[in-house]
Structures are given as C-alpha cells and as structure tokens.
C-alpha cells in the first residue's frame, strides 16, 4: 500500500481516536475538547475577525524575522566564506549556537527595548539567522572548482562571481536554510509572544488559558498547527519542483 495513503490513515485515525475519547468523556472537556469542537471554534473566530489583529501582528513579525534572517544570513555566510580565518574562529559558535537557550535572552531584550514587537522579532531572527548562515556556507563550500575556473575564464569579478555562479550553485542549500529560517521564525516569535507580550497569536493562547477559555485556546493552537504544517508542506513541494531540474533524470 502506498506510503502516503497509510500516513493519512494514521493521522486521520489518531485525530478520530482523540475525537471519540473526548466525546465519550474518557478525556474530560476541561482538559481537551474534541477536535471537531476545536475546528468549529476556529471557524467562528476566523469568520468573526475577532483575532485578525493578533494574527496579522504575529504573521508580520514572523515575516520580518524570516526576511531579515535570509538577507543577513546569506550576506554573512557569503562574507565568512571569503574570510576563512574569521570562519575558523567562529566555528565553535556555529557548533554550540543551537544548544544555548535563546529564550533566556528574551527578558534581557525586553528590559532593554521594552515590551513592543522588537524583542519577539529579535528572538525569531536570532534563531533563524544562524541556520541560514550555516547552510549558505555549506552550499558555497560545495561549488566545484571547475565552475570557479570557468568564472575566471569569463573574466568575472568577485561580486559577479558570487551572484552569477556561487550563489546560484548553492541555491538548493540556501533553500534548506530558508526552510529552517521559516520554522525557527515561527518558533521564536510565537514562543516569545507566549512568554510575555501584549498581542499576537501566542498572547491570545496564553490569555485564553489563563481565563479557562478552552474553545478559544484550542482553536488558536489548532490554527498555529495548521498554519505551520501548511507552510512547511508548501515549501517542501516548492523545493522539490526547483530541484527536479537539477537532479539526474
């Protein structure tokens, strides 16, 4: 039987099981509400536009984190690639970066910059940018020497060579960095919103939890899950299409 079919069956089965357990009261409603109720609540919220402001705020912040991480990450990755000594010195940083609890810096950022949007975007950016740098470096490392020789034969300068040969060759690896940047931006921004903030999806979930409002809370949790999964699946499909041209038939 086809793998994806079985996978869908597993997912539907799991959700179905949860639904049954909730409806039967095996899982009490003050703990988890049935998935169908979650979906209903979400639909109501989206239709009423009650949290559009928050959703927009979160998405904008995530977007800013992604874009700035991509630009800074590719630029820094390219620059470091041309400066081996600096790269060697920073290597331990690359290795331990993601082990450090980035959220630990969130209180510091709030104290310095106040409770606006900047600290959340900053956390998202900090988490995302390193993935872009590491993957950009990885891609640039793999540019075959023969293509660089070709660049010289064509008389390309350093910047032209970077734009027309190195980065296009490294594009699949940069795309991997992009996927990670998207995932990390969501994790960073929403996590920060959750810890403390004044608006956004994370904030609304936290607020709903504190007010014992399970339908709203689960609706928003469901929203994030669906959003992140949809985004990741789309990126995955886009990547496959881009890479199909470069794969051996």
């Amino acid at each position: 039987m086809k793998v994806s079919l079985v996978r869908w069956m597993v997912i539907v089965g799991a959700v179905g099981l949860l639904e049954i357990l909730c409806r039967l009261g095996v899982i009490p409603n003050f703990t988890v509400i049935p998935p169908s109720a979650m979906a209903q609540s979400l639909w109501k919220i989206l239709a009423s536009g009650k949290f559009s402001h928050d959703i927009a705020a979160t998405l904008v912040n995530v977007g800013i984190a992604i874009v700035s991480a991509m630009i800074a990450g590719v630029a820094l990755g390219t620059a470091l690639h041309g400066w081996p000594a600096a790269r060697r010195t920073l290597d331990p940083l690359f290795a331990t970066y993601y082990a450090v609890p980035m959220y630990a810096f969130y209180p510091l950022l709030i104290v310095i910059f106040g409770l606006g949007d900047f600290p959340q975007v900053a956390i998202g950016f900090l988490l995302a940018v390193m993935a872009v740098i590491i993957n950009t470096l990885n891609g640039l490392d793999r540019v075959p020497a023969v293509l660089l020789k070709t660049a010289r034969v064509h008389g390309l300068g350093f910047i032209q060579e970077a734009f027309h040969i190195r980065l296009p060759y490294a594009a699949p690896y940069v795309f991997t960095g992009f996927k990670l940047a998207v995932a990390y931006s969501f994790i960073g921004v929403i996590g920060a919103e959750f810890i403390t903030s004044s608006r956004g999806i994370g904030y609304e979930i936290s607020f709903a939890y504190n007010n014992f409002d399970n339908p709203v809370m689960y609706a928003m949790i469901l929203f994030i899950l669906l959003l992140v999964i949809t985004v990741n699946m789309s990126l995955h499909a886009w990547e496959k299409r881009l890479l199909s041209r470069r794969r051996r038939a």
Partner: protein
C-alpha cells in the same frame, strides 16, 4: 582538540559585551566582570540552591524520558522500513511546530508544577532523538547484517557487536541535540506556570527589572548549555571519526 580558537572566540565575545556595556550603560546592561561577580554571589546564596535543584531535577527527568522514549520510537521505525517512511514526515512536522503552543495542553493534562516541566522538556527532546535514532538504524550497512548471518551470530551478539556500534554515532548526535532541546524545553516550561526554578527566577527578575540578576542567570545558562554541548560534540566527533 584545538583550544586556541574557542578561547579566542570567548575572548572576543567578552570584549564585545564590555564594549556594548560601555556604549549602553547601567540602564540596560552590566559589565562582564560585574556579572561574573554577581553570579558567584548567587551561587553562594543558600536561597538560590533550591531553584537550581528544581531545574536540574526537572531537566534530568525530562532528558531521561526523552532518551528512553526517543529510542523506543526511533529504533523500531528505523528497522521497519515501511513504518519509518510513513512516520518520518510526521516526526519532521512535529519537530517544526512551535512546541510552546502545546504547553497549555500539557499544563491542563499534568497540572502546574514539576510533572508539567518534565513533560515539556521530554517532548522537546523526544523528537530529535527519535529522528536521529531512526536514521541511525536505517543506515546500518546491510552488508554488515549479511556478514553476521553468514557467521551465524546469535541475536545478542549481532546487536552488541554490530548493530549498536554501527548506529551509535548517529544516536549520540541525536542525544546531543535532544539534550540541548530538553534543556530549552525545561527552561521554557519554568518561564511560565512555575513558582520555582531558574526559568521562573529569570521571569521574576524581568518583572522586577533586575538587570544584574537577568544577566547572571543568562550567563549561567549559556555557559552550562554551551559547555555540555561542547563536550558532547567532542564525543560525537570522536565516534564519527572512528566509524
């Protein structure tokens, strides 16, 4: 292992920190020297010890659960090819979800306190450990298995002499990542919905605008996380080089 480069990096970080402090001043930062001093004071303060204990116990339990459950999920999925193919995108999807959004569910299920923290740390660690373990088992060279069967090895000998050494490097990588993520998860869990622990202290210091304490705690966490990770990384690399 070359110690020169990491030391230069640490030195540069401290220099940068000091420069930032000179730029921004006491309103938002403290100097590295002051922070280290404050941290020393904190570690000697008897009221501080219970909080470290709380975090350490929660983390240790969460990490242990993550390792056991992660391996229990990952190893069979790696061995059963079809199941592994079905499960992999699901695991990867779970990996990229902001798990913090599931925290309220954990709180509802486990209630506020230690069990919730342990569970939160555990779920952060389970996913990478299972993914790495699955890949580790999946990528065991089939030739090894055929050789073992040709030599008529018992299942126990096969597991001990071939399967474990072959899969160990990747599994250790997964455990290393799981360690860091479990720590982050435990900390995150303590940052809300807890009255004790380092994460709680951090949030408390933030609401009191206590910059000194924020920096001291952040320094402690960063040094611990980076330090252990560096050791695990050295082990990781040694295993991979041998493989």
């Amino acid at each position: 292992m070359k110690w020169r480069d990491p030391l230069i990096l640490v030195f540069l970080i401290f220099v940068l920190w000091e420069a930032l402090y000179l730029l921004v001043g006491d309103v938002a930062l403290r100097s590295p020297a002051t922070t280290v001093h404050n941290l020393g004071n904190l570690l000697n303060d008897p009221r501080f010890l219970p909080h470290i204990n709380e975090t350490a116990i929660a983390f240790a339990q969460g990490f242990a659960i993550a390792v056991v459950v992660g391996l229990l999920i990952g190893v069979p999925l790696g061995a059963a090819r079809f199941a592994g193919e079905v499960a992999e995108p699901i695991l990867v999807a779970i990996y990229s979800i902001p798990k913090v959004t599931l925290y309220p569910v954990i709180l509802l299920v486990f209630g506020i306190g230690m069990p919730a923290k342990v569970a939160f740390g555990a779920i952060h660690g389970i996913v990478p450990i299972s993914i790495f373990a699955m890949n580790a088992v999946r990528n065991i060279n089939p030739t090894h298995l055929r050789t073992a069967r040709a030599m008529r090895m018992s299942w126990l000998a096969l597991t001990l002499k071939i399967l474990i050494p072959a899969a160990l490097p990747e599994i250790v990588s997964g455990i290393r990542v799981g360690f860091s993520l479990a720590l982050i998860g435990t900390l995150l869990g303590e940052m809300f919905g807890s009255q004790r622990g380092l994460g709680h202290l951090l949030m408390q210091a933030m609401s009191l605008h206590n910059i000194e304490r924020i920096l001291a705690l952040t320094l402690l966490l960063v040094v611990f996380a980076a330090g252990v990770n560096a050791l695990l990384l050295a082990l990781d690399r040694r295993l991979h080089a041998r493989a």
